[in-house]
């Protein structure tokens, strides 16, 4: 009897294992504080989730991509249902106590359906986009993928969870681009959102509007679409202040603090300032593993989840940061390569979707620790403490590994178990 063989994408899996080990080391360190914290034993639980994740990744990699293509619709619908259910029975936790993002039964939190939705939206978008013969050329052609992304996004924004909403937007645009949607069209699609933001400065918004007009005239979409688009921009510009008014005070506050943390150094700005102090005081080599004073003395908020990267920056310094970022970059480049070499457009789009989801997580989370991004509370893949996210990340690894194996010219090694 031949030994059971597992075929894996060695560079991908090794990178993911290194990232997970690095992450668990940091979660362990985050628990070593002078001030009692609930994070003390988080590392053990994180290891259990990692093992579970690896097993799940193995199981996924045994299944054909075709199975996932088939499962895309039902799982997508299921996640929509769960997200809708959340609005009724959702529970908050941690920094995001006001978000109804957890499903809990009898006080035991089971997981965040939005983690599941990230994967199912990728699958569903890939299916919708892959079904087309030609890439969408006009805005009207985009209605299907737009609807697929919009429904879960809207449900998540109603929790409300800005950060995760951001991930869906990232996935949506990355996959449109990968499917061959021309770049100008992407700009047109994004334009109402840009108008929304620029509306606070009339002259900036005016400049944007003229630029857009020029683009519309040059790209020449259908007459109706062009008019509709410009109208949408005007409407966005008008409703922005109204939206601002209707925002929850804490959301408005977060945005303002993002722009200037020193307006509230003791409360909202505290997280960002202390995170920057932690990272900045790390220097080249950091204060040493487990030795970060900002972390030990509880100056760092959420040190084992949202701000885990600040612990890394403080204790392992610029060198440690560089190693982590390089691992992430390698992971993403590997995913892009898998997307490039895959056999069919569905697999390719799935690979790109998963990579873009990670990218948004990394940029937003890491950027937040340096105040380059507003605080949104989205976790760092493989690092932040959190079971369902660790599991989701490893499921993605399993999926990518499978796509890699089915793709052409992939350097796949065989691993005997």
């Amino acid at each position: 009897m031949p030994s059971r063989r597992v075929v894996v994408d060695i560079p991908l899996v090794i990178t993911a294992l290194l990232l997970s080990a690095y992450g668990i080391a940091m979660v362990y360190s985050a628990g070593q504080t002078d001030v009692p914290t609930s994070a003390t034993h988080a590392w053990a639980s994180q290891i259990r989730w990692l093992i579970f994740g690896i097993v799940a990744a193995y199981a996924v990699s045994r299944a054909s991509v075709r199975f996932f293509e088939w499962a895309a619709l039902p799982t997508y619908l299921m996640s929509l249902a769960l997200l809708a259910l959340l609005l009724v029975i959702g529970k908050g936790a941690g920094t995001a106590a006001s978000h109804k993002s957890w499903i809990a039964i009898g006080g035991v939190r089971l997981g965040q359906p939005s983690e599941l939705a990230k994967v199912t939206v990728v699958l569903m978008l890939a299916r919708v986009l892959a079904a087309r013969r030609e890439p969408p050329k006009s805005l009207l052609d985009l209605w299907q993928p737009a609807l697929v992304a919009f429904l879960p996004w809207a449900l998540i924004m109603m929790q409300p969870d800005l950060g995760t909403g951001l991930v869906f937007i990232g996935i949506f645009f990355a996959m449109l681009y990968w499917s061959g949607v021309p770049f100008p069209l992407l700009v047109l699609v994004a334009s109402p959102a840009v108008s929304l933001i620029l509306a606070f400065n009339t002259s900036l918004w005016g400049a944007w509007f003229l630029l857009l007009l020029a683009l519309v005239l040059w790209y020449k979409p259908f007459m109706l679409e062009g008019v509709g688009l410009m109208l949408a921009n005007v409407v966005a510009g008008v409703v922005a202040p109204v939206l601002w008014e209707r925002m929850a005070p804490y959301q408005r506050h977060r945005l303002l603090v993002f722009l200037d943390p020193s307006i509230d150094p003791r409360r909202s700005g505290w997280h960002v300032i202390q995170s920057q102090v932690a990272i900045g005081s790390g220097g080249w080599l950091g204060k040493g593993f487990l030795m970060g004073t900002q972390k030990r003395l509880a100056f760092l908020p959420e040190q084992h989840t949202d701000f885990i990267f600040a612990v890394l920056g403080e204790e392992l310094g610029f060198i440690g940061v560089t190693v982590a970022l390089m691992l992430f970059l390698f992971l993403l480049l590997r995913a892009v390569r898998i997307a490039e070499r895959s056999n069919d457009s569905f697999s390719s789009l799935v690979a790109m979707g998963l990579a873009s989801s990670w990218l948004v997580h990394i940029i937003v989370n890491v950027g937040m620790t340096l105040n380059l991004m507003p605080i949104t509370g989205i976790p760092l893949p493989f690092f932040s403490y959190g079971g369902s996210f660790m599991l989701a990340c490893w499921l993605a690894i399993g999926l990518l590994s499978r796509i890699s194996r089915e793709g052409r010219g992939a350097r796949v090694g065989e691993l005997a178990i």
Partner: protein, 591 residues
């Protein structure tokens, strides 16, 4: 779908390049924060976690001229609390109050201190007794942030005897902190208050050390030691004074409890202050570690004003002791010699215009030379001499002798004497109106009354010029830079003559009762009228000994002491003690 391999490869290259650029930018941001701005954030992180607990430095020891200790340090303890917030501090203090004596006023005071400097430990007890400290040490675990440390405590072995020039130490006040003089001081520190302790604060204070305590984000103490290398305190250097402790104590005993006034003894050649005493005195040791309110009140309400320094702050009309100034001016300008007589002999008074000016001796002194007039302190003679000298010259001379200047002694808060300024006519015009005064003011000035009020220290300084060659010595307690100013130019004969006349004051004049066997005491009595009590003059004596080679100048003032002879006897005893000669039996000649 556009999945032609070439298309995909192009997009993949673009995406990969974009990813690489994005990550390089991200790394750049980390480089800026971690490497370029590292020092700023490193400092902030240290400030976050460390609280500085000051380690007070022992103050410099103060010695007298024979290396006897005037001020030293004894072991003491201070109790302070590091608290994350004012509420937490108040809660801790209320729990503390249950085990050690702590009034609600003291709790309020501590909370106020906390608000001024929340990151420094708040002093709860600046001077805790050993009993309190041992109780607290036992229950330390219940009070995180409690800091008990040795705090050297100032001690003056001869407290009341040296209080007049020593001052004391106490916690720096808010108003002091606001002045540029105390730049760099922090709330809760001890500073010299008054006297040498204040004058030489910069040197005596030494350098405060620092112990670093680690706190968490909520300000709770996590680690009491070893968070960072402590900075050890540096003891202030010793201060060597010119004071003669034996003499100082002797003077204190002379004044005892009954007399009020002041005395100062100088070495005429250097200006070194041998002793300085203001009576009544107080015990500065009782001020250490906070002045009890009732003590402060009783000292302030005391009609004898123990906190008011009668030697450098009190201003008294110099009376007859000033006659030497008038005489020196006359001699210097050649208006009179020591043998000159005045047109009118003393018959107990002098008619000037429509006013009659009495001599202190209503029987009259008859016809006198200047030397005899000094011995007998004849007012009538000096009225006429003053008129001869003239207002401008008399005032100019008085100013030259330092009549408008502080003595320059190395003590804080010295008063400036009162005396007309150089343009005397204008001075009186302004004071009394254009026609409101006459040359009669000159008569008063000539005998040391009128617009003239001097400190005891300043009169002693003036007499160092008489005791030497006409150069005044600035009084110096701890400075060792003698500073002599020539104030008049007289021939050796004239100086000898003045000294002989002053010796005559003691041997046969107004201070006969103050004679000393074995040495010649020279000096001048004075009885200064004062506005508080017209029946009892202030008694003055300023003199030196031995008359032919003066080694000590003494000025004594007894408030409401009556006749100057009384001050002279005290000065005599001071000089005897210093020169170690046997006293003569006193003959009471006071009349």
């Amino acid at each position: 779908m556009s999945f032609h391999p070439n298309e995909v490869a192009r997009r993949a290259r673009l995406v990969s390049a974009a990813l690489a650029v994005l990550f390089v930018l991200l790394l750049g941001a980390f480089f800026r924060t971690q490497i370029v701005e590292n020092s700023r954030y490193a400092l902030q992180s240290e400030e976050n976690r460390l609280r500085e607990v000051p380690l007070p430095a022992p103050r410099g020891i103060i010695f007298d001229r024979h290396n006897e200790v005037l001020a030293e340090n004894v072991p003491g303890y201070s109790v302070s609390l590091l608290s994350p917030s004012a509420d937490s501090l108040r809660a801790s203090l209320q729990r503390l109050a249950a085990i050690i004596p702590l009034s609600s006023d003291e709790i309020d005071l501590s909370v106020r201190r906390y608000r001024r400097a929340p990151y420094r430990p708040t002093v709860v007890l600046a001077d805790a007794s050993f009993d309190v400290v041992s109780v607290l040490e036992e229950r330390r675990i219940e009070f995180p942030g409690l800091i008990i440390q040795s705090a050297p405590k100032r001690y003056y072995p001869n407290g009341p005897a040296v209080a007049s020039f020593m001052g004391y130490v106490g916690e720096i006040t808010e108003s002091e902190l606001a002045t540029p003089q105390y730049r760099g001081y922090k709330t809760g520190q001890q500073v010299g208050k008054g006297g040498l302790e204040k004058e030489y604060e910069d040197s005596l204070r030494g350098r405060e050390g620092v112990r670093f305590v680690e706190v968490d984000a909520r300000g709770r103490v996590v680690r009491e030691a070893g968070a960072r290398q402590d900075l050890l305190p540096q003891t202030g250097p010793p201060l060597y004074t010119n004071i003669d402790l034996e003499l100082q104590k002797y003077i204190a005993s002379l004044f005892a409890d009954s007399l009020q006034g002041g005395a100062i003894a100088l070495d005429p050649r250097t200006g070194g202050v041998l002793a300085l005493y203001s009576a009544p005195s107080f015990d500065p040791n009782r001020f250490i570690g906070g002045i009890p309110q009732d003590l402060w009140k009783s000292l302030n309400d005391d009609p004898n004003h123990p906190l008011y320094n009668k030697v450098i702050q009190g201003r008294y009309p110099p009376g007859s002791t000033w006659k030497l100034a008038t005489a020196a001016i006359a001699l210097e300008s050649g208006i009179a010699t020591l043998d000159d007589r005045m047109p009118e002999p003393c018959t107990g008074g002098f008619q000037f215009g429509n006013r009659y000016f009495k001599c202190w001796n209503h029987k009259g002194h008859g016809d006198l030379t200047l030397a005899q007039a000094i011995e007998q302190s004849c007012d009538v003679y000096f009225y006429q001499l003053g008129l001869k000298v003239g207002l401008t010259r008399l005032v100019a001379g008085g100013i030259r002798f330092g009549g408008r200047e502080r003595s320059g002694i190395d003590l804080p808060d010295e008063s400036r004497p009162l005396f007309p300024y150089a343009d005397a006519e204008e001075y009186y015009d302004r004071k009394y109106g254009k026609r409101g005064w006459s040359q009669a003011v000159l008569l008063n000035l000539a005998i040391g009354q009128g617009e003239n009020a001097q400190t005891v220290a300043n009169m002693a300084r003036f007499y160092t010029a008489l005791a030497t060659d006409g150069t005044e010595s600035r009084p110096e307690i701890a400075r060792h830079k003698p500073d002599r100013t020539r104030v008049f130019t007289l021939s050796e004969d004239q100086l000898q003559g003045l000294r002989a006349a002053l010796a005559g004051v003691v041997s046969s004049g107004t201070a006969r009762s103050a004679q000393i066997q074995g040495t010649v005491l020279a000096g001048k009595t004075g009885s200064a009228q004062n506005s508080q009590d017209r029946t009892r003059d202030h008694a003055w004596f300023v003199g030196f000994a031995p008359a032919d080679d003066p080694k000590i100048v003494v000025a004594v003032l007894i408030e409401f002491g009556g006749h100057g002879a009384r001050a002279a006897r005290i000065a005599s005893e001071i000089i005897q003690s210093y020169l170690k000669v046997a006293p003569t039996q006193h003959i009471n000649t006071e009349g």
